[in-house]
C-alpha cells in the first residue's frame, strides 16, 4: 500500500523535475538565441560613439541616427558651410547636422529592401504554387516512375545549392538573367520547390481521398474539388511550407552576392556594405538588420497557429 503510494508519488515527481529541466533548457537556448537579436535591436538605437564604447553600454540615450543613416547618403561639411544653410528643415536633417553632415539624398537601402521583398515573396509564392500542384499530382495520380521522380526532386537538395554557383553564374550571364529580379526569383524557386513538393505531399497524403471523391460524385470537377476541399484542408501545411521557403529566399546571401550587383541586389549583400561607407557605422548596420528581420517575424507570428498545426500535423491526426 505505502510502496504503491511512494511509486506513484515519485513518478509524478520525476515528471515535474523533467518539466523543470526542459523549461530551463529551453530558456537557456532562448537566451543564447535572443541575446544577439536584442543586441542588434539596441545597437540600432544607439549613437555611433555609444555603439563602440568600451565597456559596452546597456543603458544609453536612444537615438534614431542609425535609421537615418541607413536610409540616406550624407557628406561631411565645414561648420561655416553648414551655418550658411540656415536652420535644419526636418528632424532627420537635425540629426545629421549634429555630426557636421548634410544629407545628399536617399541611400540605396530602400531599393535593395524592395528587391528582397519582391524576390523573397515572389519566389515563395511560385515555389508553393508549383509545389502544391506537383504534390497533389504525386499524391493522387498514377505517375509513371513516381518514386524515381520524387527521389530526383529531393536529390537536387542533396548538395548545397552554392556548389553549382559557377555553372549557374555562367548560364545566367549567357541567358541575360544575371542581376535581374526574374533571375533571382527563378533561382530561389528552383531551390525551394523540391522542399515544397516533399513537405506538401506529406500534408496532402494525410487528407483522405474520400473528401475529393465525395465532391466529384456530387458533381464538382476535380479542380473544383481541389480548390473547395483540399486547399482549405491544407492551409496549415501551406503556411508552414511558405514560411520555410520565405526564410530561405529572404536570408540567402551567397547567390545574391555572386549574381546581383547594381540592379537586382537584395538586402543581405547590401547591409554589410554600409559598414564601409563612412567609417564603422554600426547603428546603421543594426538598423538595417532590424528592419530586415521585421517581415519574417511578422509572418511567423501571423501564421504561428497554422505553423504549429502544420509542423505537428502528422502527430495530431489519428
Amino acid at each position: 500500500m505505502s510502496a504503491r503510494a511512494t511509486t506513484a508519488h515519485s513518478v509524478v515527481e520525476i515528471k515535474a523535475a523533467g518539466k523543470w529541466f526542459a523549461g530551463i533548457l529551453v530558456a537557456a537556448y532562448a537566451l543564447v538565441a535572443v541575446i544577439p537579436l536584442a543586441w542588434i535591436l539596441m545597437t540600432g538605437f544607439k549613437s555611433p560613439p555609444d555603439s563602440i564604447s568600451y565597456p559596452p553600454k546597456v543603458v544609453f540615450e536612444p537615438s534614431l541616427e542609425g535609421y537615418v543613416n541607413v536610409f540616406t547618403n550624407r557628406s561631411r561639411q565645414t561648420p561655416e558651410y553648414l551655418e550658411s544653410l540656415g536652420p535644419p528643415k526636418a528632424w532627420y536633417d537635425k540629426i545629421s547636422r549634429k555630426r557636421n553632415m548634410v544629407i545628399t539624398g536617399p541611400s540605396r537601402f530602400a531599393g535593395r529592401y524592395m528587391n528582397s521583398v519582391v524576390i523573397g515573396f515572389g519566389s515563395t509564392f511560385l515555389a508553393v504554387f508549383l509545389g502544391t500542384l506537383a504534390a497533389y499530382g504525386f499524391s493522387r495520380f498514377k505517375v509513371p516512375l513516381k518514386d524515381d521522380l520524387l527521389f530526383f526532386i529531393l536529390s537536387t537538395r542533396m548538395m548545397p545549392p552554392i556548389a553549382v554557383a559557377i555553372p549557374i553564374f555562367l548560364m545566367y550571364r549567357t541567358l541575360g538573367l544575371s542581376d535581374t529580379i526574374l533571375g533571382m526569383i527563378l533561382l530561389y524557386t528552383a531551390v525551394n520547390v523540391s522542399l515544397a513538393v516533399w513537405l506538401l505531399k506529406g500534408f496532402i497524403d494525410e487528407i483522405p481521398r474520400e473528401y475529393e471523391e465525395a465532391a466529384v460524385v456530387d458533381g464538382y470537377t476535380r479542380l473544383q474539388a481541389f480548390i473547395k476541399v483540399i486547399l482549405p484542408q491544407m492551409r496549415a501545411g501551406i503556411a508552414a511550407t511558405a514560411i520555410f521557403c520565405l526564410i530561405f529566399a529572404w536570408n540567402e546571401y551567397a547567390f545574391a552576392l555572386l549574381l546581383t550587383s547594381g540592379n537586382a541586389q537584395t538586402a543581405p549583400p547590401f547591409i554589410p556594405i554600409i559598414i564601409g561607407e563612412g567609417g564603422l557605422d554600426w547603428p546603421a548596420v543594426a538598423a538595417g538588420t532590424t528592419l530586415f528581420l521585421v517581415p519574417i517575424v511578422f509572418f511567423t507570428v501571423l501564421l504561428r497557429n497554422q505553423l504549429l498545426r502544420g509542423i505537428t500535423f502528422g502527430a495530431v491526426r489519428k
Partner: protein, 362 residues
C-alpha cells in the same frame, strides 16, 4: 429514381481480379444490399457504379442509359462513404448543402432544402455547428443528409454503419430503412454484416472473391442458398455441413453412422460424394433418430437453446426450444427436417437441384 443495371462488370488491379464478370439489376426504388466478407470487391463494385473507378470491362446502365464512360458527377448518384468524408472545415449546414452549392441552385432554395433534410434527419439544431465535435450517429446523419439533399437518382452506401457501436447500429438500421421508405430512392447498400443485410434488404446480393454468388430476397437466400459459401455465410449459428454419399434419385444420403433423408435430387452426383447442409433449427432431438450422437454442450439463449451434439459424422449444432431437457454427455437421436435440407456438390460448392415442397422459412 432509377434502375441500375450492371452487365459483365470486371475489374482487375494488375493481376489481381477484384470484381469478376458481375451482372445484376437493382430495381427502381429497391433497397439492394451487397453482402460479402472483407475484400470480396463490394467497395470496388460500388465505386464503379459511382464512376470513381473505371471498370476493366463490362457496362453500367442507369435508367437504361449507358453511363460506363461518364464521369462520377454526371451520373447523378449520391455516395455515402465508409468513413462519411465530412469536411472538417465546414459547418454541418455547409456540409449538407455542399452538393447544392455548385449546381446553380438559388440561395433560398439551398437554405430551404438543407433545412428540410435536417428536419427529416432530426439534426436541424446542429446546422450551425462544426462537424468536428459531433457524435458518430450525428455524423452519420449529416453524411446521409448530404446524399439526400441532392435528390439523386440513386444512393450508394458503403458500410455506413461500420463505424458505429453495436447498440447504436440496430437503431440506425431501422432509421436508415425508414428513411429509404420515405425517400424511395434506389439504394445500394454494402455491408459485411449478415444481420444488417437480412433486416434491411429487399434483395441481397452475396459476393465472394469478386464473384456474385446469389441474388434474392433475404428469406430465399436463407432458405435456399445457391452455394455452400452462401449457406455458411448467412445464418447464425451457421449451417451444419456433413459429408456423405448418395446416388442420383436417392432419397437419403449415407453419412458416417447413419443416413439422412433428403428431397429427391434431380442431378447425377459425382464420385466425390456430396455435402449435406442443415440449419440448426431443422434438426430435432429425439430418443431415436436418423443419426445418433452425444450431447457435448448446451447453451441457453433465452427462448431457445443451442445444443451441440457430437456424432460419428462430426459436430452438429441444434436449435431447440428451451422446454427441452438434455444433459451434457447424454446419448440422443437426431431427426432431420427433410424438406429444408440442402445438398451441395463438394467440388463446385453449388447447391444441387432437388424436389422442394415450397420454401421453408427459418
Amino acid at each position: 429514381m432509377a434502375e441500375i443495371r450492371i452487365e459483365q462488370l470486371h475489374k482487375a488491379f494488375g493481376d489481381f481480379v477484384a470484381v469478376r464478370d458481375s451482372s445484376f439489376t437493382v430495381r427502381d426504388g429497391e433497397f439492394f444490399v451487397m453482402l460479402g466478407p472483407s475484400g470480396c470487391g463490394k467497395t470496388t463494385t460500388l465505386r464503379m457504379i459511382a464512376g470513381l473507378e473505371m471498370p476493366s470491362s463490362g457496362r453500367i446502365f442507369l435508367d437504361g442509359e449507358d453511363v460506363t464512360h461518364k464521369r462520377g458527377g454526371e451520373r447523378d448518384i449520391a455516395f455515402v462513404f465508409q468513413l462519411f468524408a465530412l469536411y472538417p472545415h465546414m459547418t454541418v449546414g455547409k456540409n449538407i448543402s455542399f452538393p447544392l452549392r455548385m449546381a446553380g441552385v438559388s440561395r433560398r432554395e439551398v437554405r430551404e432544402r438543407t433545412q428540410e433534410v435536417a428536419r427529416m434527419l432530426q439534426i436541424g439544431h446542429l446546422l450551425k455547428r462544426s462537424v468536428a465535435g459531433l457524435s458518430s450517429g450525428d455524423r452519420q446523419r449529416v453524411a446521409l443528409g448530404r446524399a439526400i439533399v441532392r435528390r439523386a437518382k440513386a444512393f450508394l452506401l458503403d458500410e455506413p454503419l461500420g463505424a458505429l457501436d453495436a447498440e447504436f447500429r440496430d437503431l440506425m438500421c431501422e432509421e436508415l430503412r425508414g428513411l429509404h421508405d420515405r425517400v424511395g430512392a434506389t439504394s445500394v447498400y454494402v455491408t459485411h454484416d449478415q444481420v444488417e443485410a437480412m433486416t434491411m434488404a429487399d434483395r441481397i446480393c452475396v459476393m465472394d472473391k469478386g464473384e456474385v454468388l446469389q441474388i434474392g430476397p433475404p428469406s430465399e437466400i436463407y432458405a435456399r442458398p445457391a452455394t455452400r459459401f452462401v449457406a455458411g455465410f448467412i445464418g447464425s449459428p451457421a449451417m451444419n455441413f456433413l459429408t456423405g454419399e448418395g446416388g442420383a434419385g436417392a432419397s437419403a444420403i449415407r453419412v458416417k453412422g447413419g443416413a439422412i433423408p433428403v428431397p429427391r435430387l434431380h442431378e447425377a452426383l459425382g464420385s466425390g460424394g456430396v455435402i449435406v447442409g442443415v440449419r440448426p433449427e431443422h434438426i430435432r432431438i429425439a430418443g431415436e433418430g436418423a443419426m445418433k450422437g452425444r450431447v457435448f454442450a448446451v447453451e441457453y439463449m433465452g427462448a431457445r437453446q443451442l445444443i451441440t451434439v457430437d456424432t460419428d459424422a462430426g459436430r452438429l449444432r441444434v436449435r431447440a426450444p428451451n422446454t427441452m431437457r438434455v444433459e451434457t454427455g447424454e446419448a440422443v437421436g437426431l431427426n432431420f427436417d427433410t424438406e429444408s435440407l440442402m445438398v451441395f456438390d463438394p467440388q463446385s460448392g453449388r447447391a444441387l437441384a432437388s424436389d422442394h415442397a415450397g420454401a421453408a422459412h427459418g
